[in-house]
């Protein structure tokens, strides 16, 4: 789950990483008031959960409160990189002498946290890595011990920092590691980390992503995650314990397991069909989760005339066949839509036999295998 800039900065503040003075606003008038309160030149920053705000016009400077209010009115409601702007951060304008980059992320190949620092901040780190790799220093951290002060010092020394900048940068890096660990982050990043004319180090931006599997430890984010999903179908999916992604075609596809669902989509496309969505119910199915998944597809089919057929594939390794079949039938009974449902029941003997037996006299079109199921769904979609 990605956090907004202002949320990341609130976390930084708790961990003694200096941030600019700032106020979150939702209207032009609030922005004007915020600028008065800050009492100096300000920067107005769109709060969105991705994209490059600066280039898209989401970050602007203002010399007076009236100007701040006007700019805010212009940015609020804008669509930036696919995200609608609902709030802004009004911050004191920093007198920046130099900009660094600092980030802790997860190195999948090594399975460990990696700390990365760069002498060039304020641009995408991937760009710097391509253009000037010598400006970047990085090191793996042992997650059992955490970052050690000398490791942090060695890293920032490698990008040319000395004296007071060296010690304050290494201190910020150690604190950022604490942010990463104690918030179960996938990414904790400061870009840019500004060095002001006065020689202070300030986190001018924040990027934090919390690991979704750790949200049980962070109830404050758990509900927010669902609220922030903009697509109503995707939100309904998460609420029902399934994973839904909207696509463009006419065959609504559901299976249990991400790999299996993706391979169905690929195989449908390879055979000239066009999937309308990806719905992965996950493993270890209950009647309720099955019903939620099938129900979601049927409601989607009712709302979206493009959808001609629903294809369900369940591979029962441990999922009880009675729960699977009942979940399907209850959803069909409840939603009442004419869209045909093709179902493929596979898996452990006697689970697959039992599920087929239960569905035999129901409204679904039963197919014995993946190939037959896909061909049948494509045939119906083309009729």
């Amino acid at each position: 789950m990605r956090l907004y800039e202002y949320e990341g900065k609130e976390i930084f503040k708790k961990f003694d990483i200096p941030i600019p003075q700032g106020i979150l606003v939702k209207t032009g008038e609030e922005a004007r008031q915020a600028a008065i309160e800050l009492g100096k030149d300000v920067v107005v920053k769109a709060q969105i959960l991705g994209g490059r705000r600066g280039k898209a016009g989401g970050i602007k400077f203002a010399r007076t409160p009236d100007e701040a209010g006007k700019i805010a009115q212009g940015i609020l409601g804008m669509e930036l990189e696919g995200y609608k702007v609902n709030s802004l951060l009004v911050e004191e304008k920093l007198n920046i002498a130099n900009e660094l980059y600092m980030g802790i992320t997860v190195d999948g190949e090594n399975g460990a946290p990696v700390a990365m620092v760069s002498a060039e901040g304020g641009v995408e780190i991937e760009e710097v890595a391509k253009r000037n790799p010598e400006k970047i220093a990085s090191g793996l951290i042992n997650p059992l011990y955490g970052i050690r002060t000398y490791e942090a010092i060695n890293l920032v020394r490698q990008i040319g920092l000395t004296e007071r900048t060296l010690t304050s940068a290494s201190r910020v890096l150690c604190q950022l590691y604490q942010v990463f660990v104690l918030n179960d982050a996938r990414i904790a990043e400061i870009n840019p980390l500004a060095i002001t004319n006065e020689g202070n180090m300030v986190a001018a931006d924040s990027r934090c992503e919390i690991d979704d599997n750790s949200l049980f430890k962070h109830p404050e984010y758990k509900d927010l995650r669902i609220q922030r999903i903009e697509n109503p179908w995707e939100r309904e999916g998460v609420e029902g314990g399934v994973n839904y992604v909207d696509l463009e075609g006419n065959i609504a596809v559901m299976a249990n397991g991400a790999g299996l669902t993706m391979s169905l989509l690929d195989t449908i496309k390879a055979n000239g069909g066009s999937p309308a969505c990806f719905l992965d119910t996950g493993g270890g199915l209950s009647r309720e989760r099955m019903k939620n998944g099938v129900g979601l597809l049927l409601r989607k089919a009712r709302a979206d005339q493009r959808i001609k057929v629903v294809l369900l594939m369940v591979r029962m390794m441990i999922s009880p066949p009675d729960a699977v079949a009942e979940g399907i039938m209850e959803a069909i009974e409840e939603v009442q839509v004419k869209t045909p449902v093709v179902a493929v029941m596979r898996g452990r003997t006697p689970y697959q036999e039992r599920a087929r037996e239960l569905l035999e006299n129901s409204a679904v079109i039963l197919c014995p295998g993946v190939e037959e199921g896909i061909r049948e769904a494509i045939k119906i979609a083309k009729e």
Binding site: V106, G108, E109, G111, A112, P113, E126, N142, P143, L144, V181, D184, R186, D211, D212, N213, S214, F216, K217, N243, V245, L247, A255, N256, G257, A258, G259, L260, T261, M262, S263, L265, D266, T267, K269, A270, N271, P275, F278, D280, G282, G283, G284, R315, M317, I318, R346, G347, R348, T349, V370, E371
Partner: protein, 288 residues
């Protein structure tokens, strides 16, 4: 023994009395798996399907020879359960549990480093040696004994691919789910190194997915050092960028982790890549 386990492997189940642990213990016993003990703190002294239950792994290994452990404990407790198995010097662990926190996964990986131990998972369907043993939930009816090893990142897709092979009369030496998460105990390359030396395995099916770089790493190894025929399938060719497909590792970020990159890597390593699931058995017949 193909790799890791065989019919003589003595197995411990951590979390044996929980909902999934108990259900799957029953299914594993039906496969003939030699489950010698289980662990659930607070339930020591009880039995589960006649298997003795202990309060700790150490207690179990004091009483029994344990060659491998299967972990079913809930996600918040997986880290300690894995540490416990490794501290008791169990040589091979299968972490079935799904939704394990990323930071736990990193710590388990670091804990295993430098020890004489291996693990697969988390978020794996486990490992099955047909007609010998099963540590996990792969369906016995999906597999048959033979000489093709299946290595997969998925759960249900692993089971489906095994079925596709068996239905065409192609048996398996071993079927392994590595786990769908970004940080897992054994990567494809680790398994390939073991399969290279395995006399029973004559060919390999790799079932990959978008996300990460494991397939590219495996392809490099195959090209340089692997001497057995390989067929690959990569799920997620048509997945949109930047969208997480499922809750686990499958996401394309920028240029990294795309299906094209993986397919190209495999093809330039001389690996045949199947476009559909049902193409896997026929491609395999051509090369094995």
């Amino acid at each position: 023994m193909a790799i890791f386990v065989d019919k003589d492997t003595n197995v411990l189940v951590q979390g044996i009395t929980g909902k999934f642990g108990a259900l799957q213990t029953k299914l594993m016993l039906d496969c003939g798996t030699k489950i010698v003990a289980g662990v659930t703190p607070g339930k020591g002294g009880q039995t589960q399907f006649d298997v003795p239950v202990y309060d700790s792994v150490q207690q179990a290994v004091n009483k029994h020879r344990v060659d491998a452990s299967v972990i079913y404990v809930p996600a918040p407790f997986v880290q300690d359960a894995a540490f416990e198995a490794m501290d008791a010097e169990i040589k091979f662990t299968v972490i079935i549990t799904d939704w394990v926190p990323l930071h736990s996964e990193m710590k388990i990986k670091a804990y295993a480093k430098g020890r004489d131990t291996r693990y697969i998972g988390p978020n794996t369907p486990g490992i099955m040696v047909p007609a010998q043993t099963s540590l996990g939930m792969i369906s016995p009816s999906a597999v048959m004994p033979g000489s093709v090893a299946v290595i997969s990142r998925s759960g249900t897709l692993t089971d489906e691919v095994a079925s596709q092979l068996s239905e065409q009369g192609i048996g398996q030496s071993v079927v392994i789910g590595l786990g769908g998460d970004p940080i897992i105990g054994s990567r494809m390359i680790d398994i390939l190194k073991l399969l290279k030396e395995d006399g029973q395995t004559k060919g390999v099916v790799i079932v990959g997915e978008i996300g990460g770089t494991m397939e590219e790493e495996a392809a490099q190894y195959i090209e340089a050092q692997f001497n057995k025929p390989v067929v690959a399938f990569v799920a997620g060719r048509t997945a949109p960028r930047g969208k997480v497909m499922g809750h686990a590792g499958a996401i394309i970020m920028g240029e990294r982790g795309t299906a094209e990159s993986k397919i190209n890597a495999f093809e330039s390593a001389g690996v045949s890549v199947a476009k559909t699931l049902w193409e896997i058995p026929s491609l395999l017949r051509k090369v094995v």
